[in-house]
Symmetry: C2
Subunit: 397 residues, 2 copies
């Protein structure tokens, strides 16, 4: 019989994907230029040309047996060393090759990190607002995801709730900074306090509590905002990274887990992740893609469009009277809806061909997410439409 | 705490990998030319040049946003269509795009296929001799792997044992033809009888029994041997393929599952596999690799060296008095050891720098595997060493 659990998941479709599919259909009807699709977090700039040059050169010059050979189960040593060196240089860490495990993007990274430090039945805490895929990522391991309510003041951490909810059964805490969907970057103060609370609770409970830090937006920062490297503040940290956004390579599925060298069992966590791979069929990202990113680790695509778009949108939203926290990075913004029911709000916007994602799936009611990884020209054209929508639908605010 | 289950797996190392690592160390000592390493099933010929041309061209000419964009969760439609068309042409099937799911090699394919049609606690049958990684592949899903004893006569199926062991709790049967480690190709008669037994038991038990057919060696056939396409004989078949061996791309992690269109729930099995991906962090193979293999689906590397090597080895083994079934494909041969304890036999061979893999891990005692995906010149040089080993260690046979 076909597995009923997975069969059941088919009906629980992602609202983001549904909205994006609607936008595509609508685009076919009225012309895609006339649909203001803020649904999907898909990079809107091409990959760094240095990546293209690197991978073409590898295919033209490298021995194909080495380029396309099996990676060791712990992934390619020279690539792991290059990642360690780059992180050490950038974040003043002391990773060795043995602390780096290359993965198929952040999804692969989180999947391994979560399995390595939890067992079925354990609890994993995350903070609202959060990326909805954390649901299947965590429940897929057999652990349970519990969501700490948002601090809607500034979308930093709600520490009162966090300290209460960090019970003895919690084995890992999952953070995402810069954050999808809020665009907020956790401040140094937030990370320091988070680390302090976790360290205290580790002592109190007498067991490890791991910090799993999901950092695919680490390179997309605005206004010179500081983005502290969480692992620098808390030893039991597994940093999960993806090159999807920084190099605009989402389809290539390439990222890594970096295990803090001072972490419990730091020397065996990568071999453990290699074992996890055997059971899930992950078995390493593409060898040629591993080797190519290793050549361009500190390059990025031209990410400036995201800041340009953020500034235009933020100013317009404030001007229209929205309550909104200014993003410090990413390509998302997360304003408060103009009525309590975010679904109703987004449904009304849809009639103006404004495709906005209601916040309920992100763990906070009453907000909406706009993904502004689209052409600046389109962001500009969306402003009068947004104005018309607000003025017509909410005239008496 | 670090997950104890995976931690425990660290001590249970793969004997194949250990032998291969020993061969590498020994090669550093005495020169790699002097080590006759028959341990690893790693392709020894470069990838098809048409693949290199295709992927370079894609990087040079295709819009990078399309080349590197997210695959849909069910993988890239044009690639799925190309695979369906090719299979239909070659095996007289009627796959649609909707029956094909691209995966990270055969490991990814098996991992999805097994999860799709079993639930934790179910039993999966396979046949000795079998690829040892089936252990973690199956137990990783929560199902239980049961091994039908070998038919050592010709390494076709032991039907007496199979019919007894195909109990009501068995939800899937996993076959591998051409077979690793025996090199044997299941005959048309074998596949027909297998299909008949399974169809009868399905009727008797009133539930589906799926055939999961692992076919990475499908393109490596000798002497014009016929390799029947199992899905043609049994509707409830999921065919798992990898381009690792045919195109010599093991590191690129690219393959697929092809769901027989007449299979139970054929229309939802690929969407179900896409859901499974969310929980395991698989989330599609590399987009550029998907697009490149789609251009060269019916090409292969120059695979003729494997047949050349097989003939040399088979003749030599027969000449030395080994009992051995002539392989119909793959790059493996599986002779009977010259004493009951295959481990002792292989240990003695090691003293002659002949690296042979004992058969116990493949589910049959008393045999050994030789992977002859090495230079023909080295196979030739290994024959007198093999002769010396046999004559000195087993003089009184």
């Amino acid at each position: 019989m076909v597995n009923e659990q997975y069969k059941g998941m088919l009906s629980g479709k992602s609202i983001i994907r549904e909205l994006s599919e609607y936008a595509t259909r609508r685009g076919e009807e009225i012309g895609y230029d006339n649909v203001f699709d803020f649904s999907l977090g898909n990079p809107s700039v091409p990959c760094a040309t240095s990546y293209t040059e690197a991978i073409v050169k590898l295919h033209q010059n490298m021995d194909p047996m080495s380029l396309h050979g099996y990676s060791p189960s712990t992934t390619i040593p020279s690539v792991r060393q290059a990642v360690a060196d780059s992180l050490n240089r950038r974040f003043d860490m002391n990773y060795g090759m043995e602390h780096i495990f290359m993965t198929t993007g952040a999804a692969g990274a989180l999947s391994h990190a979560l399995r390595a430090v939890t067992k079925p039945g354990d609890e994993v805490l995350t903070f609202a607002p959060f990326f909805p895929e954390y649901g299947p990522y965590v429940t897929g391991t057999g652990a349970k995801l519990t969501v700490v309510p948002a601090n809607t003041e500034d979308f930093q951490i709600n520490f009162t709730a966090f300290e209460e909810m960090l019970t003895e059964n919690v084995m890992a805490v999952l953070i995402n900074t810069p954050n999808n969907p809020s665009g907020v970057v956790y401040s140094r103060e937030t990370i320091e306090r988070l680390a302090q609370v976790m360290a205290d609770k580790q002592r109190e409970y007498g067991h490890d509590i791991f910090l799993i830090s999901d950092e695919p937006y680490r390179e997309i920062l605005f206004d010179g905002v500081e983005c502290p490297y969480p692992s620098k503040f808390y030893d039991n940290t597994l940093s999960c990274y993806s090159f999807s956004k920084s190099l605009s390579l989402p389809g290539e599925r390439i990222g890594y887990v970096a295990v803090n060298p001072a972490c419990t069992d730091a020397d065996i966590l990568v071999p453990i992740m290699a074992q996890i791979s055997r059971g899930t069929g992950h078995n390493c990202p593409s060898s040629s893609v591993q080797l190519a990113v290793a050549k361009v680790l500190e390059d990025t695509s031209d990410l400036s469009v995201y800041e340009t778009n953020m500034n235009i949108l933020y100013d317009a939203l404030v001007d229209l009277g929205f309550e909104v926290v200014r993003p410090g990075g990413t390509f998302y913004i997360f304003p408060k809806a103009l009525e309590e029911d975010a679904n109703a709000f987004c449904m009304k916007a849809k009639a103006y061909d404004l495709i906005l994602v209601p916040s309920d799936n992100f763990g906070v009611p009453g907000y909406f997410r706009m993904a502004y990884c689209i052409d600046t020209e389109k962001v500009k054209r969306a402003i009068p439409v947004l104005r018309e929508f607000v003025e017509k639908e909410y005239p008496n605010r």
